[in-house]
Symmetry: C2
């Protein structure tokens, strides 16, 4: 197995992305702090380039390409933020990029990925296996595949979000992080272990897609059918060996939250904090509020992972009376 990334890799990633990724702001809400009797620090990756933390890992991975890899290009499959992250990073680094997207992906996402210069190849997800297809194209063209989370450079890149948070606010008692494939969670856990050793790192996933919680509790990776949840960034079926190894070692617990709790979070962020957060981006916050952990009087970090949600869908989710 590839060696697991370490905190030194997170530090090196932070150097590579400096001046390319935004150092996103840490925002607070006095109203919320009063309500929870805690100090909550939101690390706002919805204000990251292309609207999500994914840019960190993608840019870090692509920055390490050698001359041959740069010439042959990068390939990725994603219908979500990873697609845009790879396309934008490749554009900035002058690397050709092919992105495989399902032909029924939202047109806005296809357009956004093309807008960043990505060569989008559409496939029929009912007829074709995207992983097989990707590997075929990668082999034919000599392209390097960068997966959305199962890669040490991607994990190390995502960890820079927590590194920045600790750098700005100091040590924390809790750090809540959303969890799909576990890339952000494991990267952030590496940073937490080094920078705030007593911090409890808590992963949060949708109730309908609790493969991570099952895996964590059983000690072996559990695979589930693609879950039905509004948290479209966390519709993964399983952790990878690499993310699971870090999660088991460095994460203290995995919680689940309901879709209704995610909508409540979106509404809170919009009404009280004036920001647009995608459903997946509300996982960590919902876990902090509804997860039952004793956060009162504690210093609590919450990673807000992204803000890429269609505005009409956003309006429907938050604009209607609860």
């Amino acid at each position: 197995m590839t060696p697991l990334p370490t905190f030194s890799d997170v530090v090196a990633a932070a150097e590579r992305i400096r001046g390319h990724a935004h150092q996103t702001p840490v925002l607070r809400s006095s109203t919320l702090d009063q309500r929870l009797a805690a100090q909550v620090f939101f690390k706002c990756e919805n204000f990251q380039r292309m609207g999500a933390f994914k840019f960190r890992g993608a840019f870090n991975a692509l920055s390490r390409f050698d001359a041959a890899q740069i010439q042959a290009g990068v390939i990725a499959f994603s219908s979500g933020n990873h697609a845009q992250a790879i396309a934008l990073s490749a554009q900035l680094l002058g690397i050709p990029a092919v992105i495989l997207m399902p032909q029924d992906a939202p047109q806005a996402k296809i357009d956004a990925t093309r807008g960043y210069g990505g060569d989008v190849i559409l496939f029929d997800r009912f007829q074709q296996d995207r992983e097989v297809l990707t590997r075929e194209i990668a082999a034919q063209r000599g392209m390097t595949l960068i997966p959305p989370f199962d890669h040490p450079d991607v994990i190390a890149g995502q960890g820079t979000a927590a590194k920045e948070l600790f750098g700005e606010v100091g040590e924390l008692d809790y750090l809540f992080v959303c969890m799909g494939g576990g890339g952000l969670l494991s990267g952030c856990a590496l940073a937490a272990r080094a920078l705030s050793p007593r911090c409890q790192v808590i992963g949060v996933e949708p109730e309908a897609g609790n493969d991570g919680q099952q895996s964590f509790r059983s000690g072996a990776i559990v695979r589930i059918p693609t879950p039905k949840t509004i948290a479209d960034g966390a519709q993964t079926q399983a952790l990878s060996e690499m993310t699971f190894a870090i999660v088991r070692r460095d994460v203290q617990d995995i919680l689940t939250v309901t879709d209704a709790q995610l909508v409540e979070g979106m509404r809170f962020f919009a009404e009280r904090m004036k920001m647009i957060v995608e459903p997946t981006g509300c996982l960590a916050f919902a876990g902090a509020v509804h997860g039952g952990l004793p956060i009162a009087s504690k210093r609590v970090g919450v990673i807000v992972s992204g803000g890429n949600v269609d505005l009409q869908r956003f309006g429907k989710l938050v604009g209607d009376a609860p």
Copy 2:
């Protein structure tokens, strides 16, 4: 006439609000910078406490109350952000607050003001003159009236927004600021003159409410009927003597923008920057984009003044296809 506030007053205000107001983040958009071939720095006062810059001026003014004023309390009339700013500042400082609001003000704003502990008195704006009524109550109860812009401590407090911006990003070529009664604009102009003397300070108001532009160009305060515009924070009829004196001296031009350009701005902020900005908060940005000034290759500051917009209204304005 009361002496005009100076930059020293802005510096003193910054000390008073420290630890009470948020130091709001300065955000950027690479996409926008590319499109305009400029460097644009957004000072995000929509992330200020109670959702708008108004907290700065209100808290500064109330911090200067003496013991007798604190005991008797503060009174203000406003249907908008000034009401919430006074109510919250008074609550934090332990000062009783009476806020006069029109009885047809949105229930959400009345509730928010009461939520901050303000004693809301509703009046019939077709039958009663709010200024007369306010002065009557102020006199009866010995309360101090804090107007929304015509006050040196309010102006100095608002100027701290620009002071923070220059402190973070250094000198600028242009600073665009929205303009209703001119409190934010004149305060920011004081900061600009001291911290970035060659910066062109530009006020931006709604086309339908161009009293400021008319006043600026004619050299005398022009009063207009209450303008019809979606920029509800800029529906003022005239500048005050105090704000006009500073604007004439320290501001380089006043531009106007249309309501359609404000909606375009709201959509840009939502789609590209993942933030909720109220229509008035888009004035400065719309002026930078549509005002015809030669901003290419320049360093441009834009004050995003607030984010208090009803989510259903927000959804209607930005969610519908353009």
